[in-house]
């Protein structure tokens, strides 16, 4: 039975006809919408490469059954930059070499944006590392990632003031 899935993805309302209820949000984003920025790593909620914001909160899209999130608002890495202006977290990842191969980077960036919005890590590197622990980087760019998150936290605090 075909079921209609309504999502607002990066600000655009989409109605998606799903003939298979097994689709995860990750599958829908990549295979149906063509937004391949969100990556499939482990597909089991362990690596964080598929991290997106669902109604503003970071979650693993690979473990989100798409139909269960009918009506939700989704933000992916494609929804961050304003034209040529990168999001401050994206710019910080480039500035601090927060990646090597780049496969985990969209998930890292989405997770970092949520971490900063949660406002619980502040500028404490240990808490940033703990708050980013759901995103693995097999190139081990962790030092750069931590610096990028701290730098972006300072930048966004400055922008908000």
């Amino acid at each position: 039975m075909t079921q209609t899935l309504n999502l607002t993805i990066n600000g655009t309302a989409r109605a998606i006809a799903l003939d298979d209820p097994r689709a995860t949000l990750l599958d829908v984003l990549r295979e149906r919408i063509g937004l391949t920025g969100t990556k499939k790593g482990c597909d089991r909620g362990q690596c964080g490469a598929c991290t997106v914001l669902i109604d503003g909160r970071r979650m693993n899209a690979c473990l989100a059954l798409a139909l269960s999130h009918d009506g939700a608002s989704i933000t992916t890495v494609e929804g961050l930059a304003q034209g040529c202006d990168l999001h401050p977290v994206q710019a910080a990842f480039i500035r601090h070499d927060g990646f090597q191969c780049g496969y985990c980077t969209p998930g890292q960036i989405m997770s970092a944006i949520a971490l900063i919005a949660e406002g619980e890590a502040g500028l404490d590197p240990e808490r940033v590392r703990e708050g980013m622990s759901g995103n693995l980087c097999r190139c081990a760019a962790y030092a750069g990632i931590t610096e990028a998150v701290l730098d972006a936290t300072r930048t966004m605090k400055g922008n908000a003031a």
């Binding site: 964080g48 059954l65 619980e120 759901g134």
Partner: protein, 314 residues
């Protein structure tokens, strides 16, 4: 993953008695379905049910089954009255998973026994009477208490250990009415052939209630030993609380995690503590520290253990 029928329950009545697997956050169920361990023919989605509230309840709390792990860990009443519950939550999984995972789902999560998770391995927990591959296998994360020759798996939850310590009760709705089961007895221990299900067909967890912690609210902790600093299941963990009056312990709670198929209440140890003089000098609490993520103390043990051993946090 097998094909299934998806239905969304709009009322609790529609969910109770429904023939199918209950879908809440999905972080455990979808994973089990992807690896072929869970093969439900129907999913009953309960995410739209009004089970997301945390209500005051006779000095304690009534926690809706759909309250996310992240919301529960941040609730000011949990932080004030049950800091060990917040610590247990924050010591488990990742921020992404805690945003999705629910209270009821945490209680119902499956064991992480690697033989249970491999459909090709005989497992009495999956198919009673098929055998236990863990016995004689790699068992470093397996039970040391309450096991049988049929199953030596442990329950992986951190939250449930803290809930069991502080006398939480699981509230269940079923086709024939409601029932309440203490958290410490909710998960059945293995018998001679397998492991009975915790819930009967058609039953749904609606809430978890925590009674008034009394004088234990101020002296409660969750400690967890694991193989890396973060994002790992417990090798062993403990939730503990004491009420100290006039320099002596007048009430004590102790539950152990990672050692059995259920959170293990150590009643004898609790009894032995009653009447004992307060045996320690408490460390000063870090100033203005919201109970979010445990912090490395100023005198710093190696990073491999600070997270587990650090102090709370209020």
């Amino acid at each position: 993953m097998n094909l299934f029928e998806y239905t969304r329950a709009d009322t609790l009545e529609a969910a109770v008695g429904a023939d199918g697997a209950i879908l809440a956050g999905g972080t455990n169920l979808l994973d089990l379905m992807k690896i072929g361990v869970a093969t439900p023919s129907r999913l009953v989605d309960i995410t739209r049910l009004p089970l997301r509230g945390i209500k005051d309840h006779d000095g304690g709390l009534r926690i809706g089954a759909m309250v996310s792990n992240a919301d529960l860990a941040r609730d000011p009443r949990i932080l004030a009255r049950f800091p060990a519950v917040a610590e247990a939550l924050l010591s488990g999984a990742s921020p992404q998973l805690r945003n999705a995972a629910s209270t009821g789902g945490n209680v119902m999560q499956a064991t992480r026994c690697s033989y249970f998770q491999d459909p090709l391995s005989p497992c009495n927990r999956r198919v009673a009477g098929s055998g236990c591959s863990a016995i004689g296998g790699v068992t470093r994360n397996h039970a040391v208490l309450g096991w049988s020759d049929a199953c030596i798996a442990t329950h992986p939850s951190d939250l449930c250990v803290a809930l069991a310590a502080f006398d939480a009760v699981v509230e269940i709705a079923g086709p024939t009415g409601t029932r309440s089961v203490p958290m410490a007895e909710f998960h059945p221990l293995p018998d001679a052939v397998g492991v009975p299900p915790a819930l009967a067909a058609g039953e749904v967890i609606t809430d978890v209630t925590l009674p008034d912690p009394g004088g234990m609210a101020r002296h409660a902790r969750y400690v967890k030993l694991r193989e890396r600093t973060s994002y790992a299941f417990a090798i062993v963990s403990a939730a503990a609380g004491v009420h100290v009056a006039d320099g002596r312990i007048v009430a004590a709670r102790l539950a152990l995690g990672g050692v059995a198929a259920r959170p293990w209440r150590a009643h004898a140890a609790e009894a032995a503590l009653i009447g004992q003089p307060r045996p320690w000098t408490p460390l000063p609490m870090p100033p203005r520290w919201p109970c979010r993520v445990p912090r490395r103390p100023a005198t710093m043990p190696p990073r491999s253990c600070w997270h587990s051993a650090s102090r709370c946090v209020r």
